[in-house]
């Protein structure tokens, strides 16, 4: 499969990159790892006139530690997260999550922001142009119907990034920049929840940095991923739990976030209110798992069975909480 034609632009600085994005707007796409973008282009899901390649832009690939926590450049490879000693010491769940993305060679190519900014996926969308032509356009490709949810009035494509739930459960933020401005938003706000346009980014905006707050004392975290094979697969459901406890064994902070069970990754708000200030008992964990189950809205568009995937949210939530909480 060949790529469509495009101009390849190689800015040498961030400013230059932002300038190019401002100039070309929707005509341009940013390329970093390329593992998702180039597949989409081969399938003619995207045919940008310009690719703005960030590989030569300095200072986007770093992992530093400061009083606020970890600062991670958006172009940091997933493999760097797996190997980083700073990550291992401060926030091992980041490395654990990154190590579960695809397989090692793709972790070598894929970047942190690339994984965060994954497009939503669907069996009726991630296909060649010939394949899609067989049944006509859906909401995601500019048409007016959904092939999955018959009679559905919007796009239900599924967000399947691995890093998002972990960063959301950690309370991370991202720095989003465009020419002349920058903003810092919680990772949660990166997602619109709209299958058709899942990212809350303007065409000329890019994520430059991820900030992970310093861990609270007594914190633990765990990512649980449902997939049929031991590697390569996108999550069919994923849950990260981040919990901290105090000296008297009470939960002082709790974050639980889900992926691959809806159009966007989501924080299970109820988990926080249920857990914080409490003893983490089996009953309470079951309540949180139930809340996560209720929040999950998978549909049959990325493999396996939606009802099954939803049930698994309960199991994964419980397991991630138990692992994050650790032994008494």
């Amino acid at each position: 499969m060949q790529l469509p034609s495009f101009e390849h632009l190689e800015p040498r600085s961030l400013d230059e990159a932002l300038e190019l994005l401002a100039e070309h707007g929707t005509q341009a796409k940013v390329i970093a790892g390329g593992t998702e973008l180039l597949v989409s282009m081969k399938q003619r899901l995207l045919s940008p006139a310009y690719l703005v390649n960030l590989k030569a832009v300095p200072d986007l690939d770093f992992i530093t530690e400061d009083a606020g926590g970890l600062r991670i450049g958006s172009l940091t490879r997933l493999s760097a997260l797996v190997r980083s000693t700073a990550v291992k010491e401060l926030c091992p769940v980041l490395g654990q999550t990154a190590s579960m993305v695809a397989a090692p060679p793709l972790q070598e190519m894929g970047t942190l922001s690339g994984n965060l900014c994954l497009n939503t996926r669907c069996f009726y969308y991630n296909q060649s142009s010939f394949w899609r032509q067989v049944r006509g356009s859906c909401y995601k490709t500019g048409g007016g119907l959904c092939h999955v949810v018959k009679g559905g009035n919007r796009c239900f494509s599924t967000y399947q990034g691995d890093m998002a739930p972990t960063l959301m459960a950690l309370g991370a933020t991202v720095k989003v920049v465009r020419k002349g401005s920058e903003r810092e938003i919680p990772v949660t706000e990166l997602y619109t929840g709209k299958g058709k346009r899942p990212l809350a980014l303007e065409p000329d905006e890019i994520v430059t940095e991820v900030r992970v707050p310093a861990p609270v004392a007594g914190a633990g975290a765990d990512y649980q991923k449902l997939r049929y094979r031991g590697a390569m697969d996108f999550p069919l459901a994923g849950v990260t739990a981040v919990l901290a406890r105090n000296g008297s064994g009470l939960c002082t902070r709790a974050g639980v976030a889900l992926t691959a069970v809806g159009t966007a990754p989501l924080v299970v708000e109820e988990a926080t209110s249920l857990l914080e200030g409490q003893q983490v008992t089996d009953d309470l964990v079951a309540q949180v798992a139930e809340a996560a189950y209720e929040a999950a809205r998978p549909v049959n568009n990325v493999g396996s069975d939606a009802a099954y995937r939803r049930k698994m949210v309960r199991v994964l939530t419980r397991r991630s909480i138990v692992n994050a909480w650790g032994e008494e």
């Binding site: 060949q2 034609s5 390849h8 690719l51 397989a103 060679p105 793709l106």
Partner: protein, 155 residues
């Protein structure tokens, strides 16, 4: 679309090639440099047969633009044997029966080489993880894992 002259460093040799921006590394290797040892199994990054080493790391050459790897050290299967002497991983694959149809072998061998350079004495679990992105349809991976562990012991 502007075609341009780029210089690629492949297997220790410099190659000047005129490419379009939309040419992937696997296309340039196979079609321009006639290095057909690098295979193309899916073109979507899912099978791993197009793996080459880029600055020592295994990457999917079907998802790598040729224009963006100038100045990098590229190694394909053709560049592995030095001075007619097979690389220990190649030898181990041959001796342990780790090759059946052979279509995944170049990528599998390169991935193994990269693993052993980073981790000269991996556990079986580490070996299985390192090659978990490489599809082999013939061997059930048993003799591949055996060969990699043997190459590690001999190295």
């Amino acid at each position: 679309m502007e075609r341009r002259l780029i210089r690629l460093r492949v297997n220790g040799e410099e190659h000047d090639v005129v490419v379009s921006p939309n040419e992937t590394l696997v296309e340039v290797l196979r079609e321009r440099l006639e290095l057909t040892g690098t295979k193309m199994g899916c073109g979507e990054g899912a099978c791993g047969t197009c793996t080459v080493l880029l600055d020592g790391k295994p990457v999917r050459s079907c998802l790598t633009l040729a224009v963006e790897v100038q100045g990098k050290v590229i190694v394909t299967i053709e560049g592995l044997a030095e001075g007619g002497e097979l690389h220990p991983v190649q030898k181990a694959f041959i001796e342990h029966g780790a090759i059946q149809c052979g279509f995944c072998s170049p990528a599998m061998i390169l991935t193994s080489k990269a693993l052993l350079e980073e981790n000269p004495h991996p556990t079986e679990e580490e070996v299985r993880s390192a090659i978990s992105g490489q599809v082999c349809r013939c061997t059930g991976y048993a003799k591949i894992v055996e060969a990699i562990l043997a190459a590690a012991d001999s190295g």
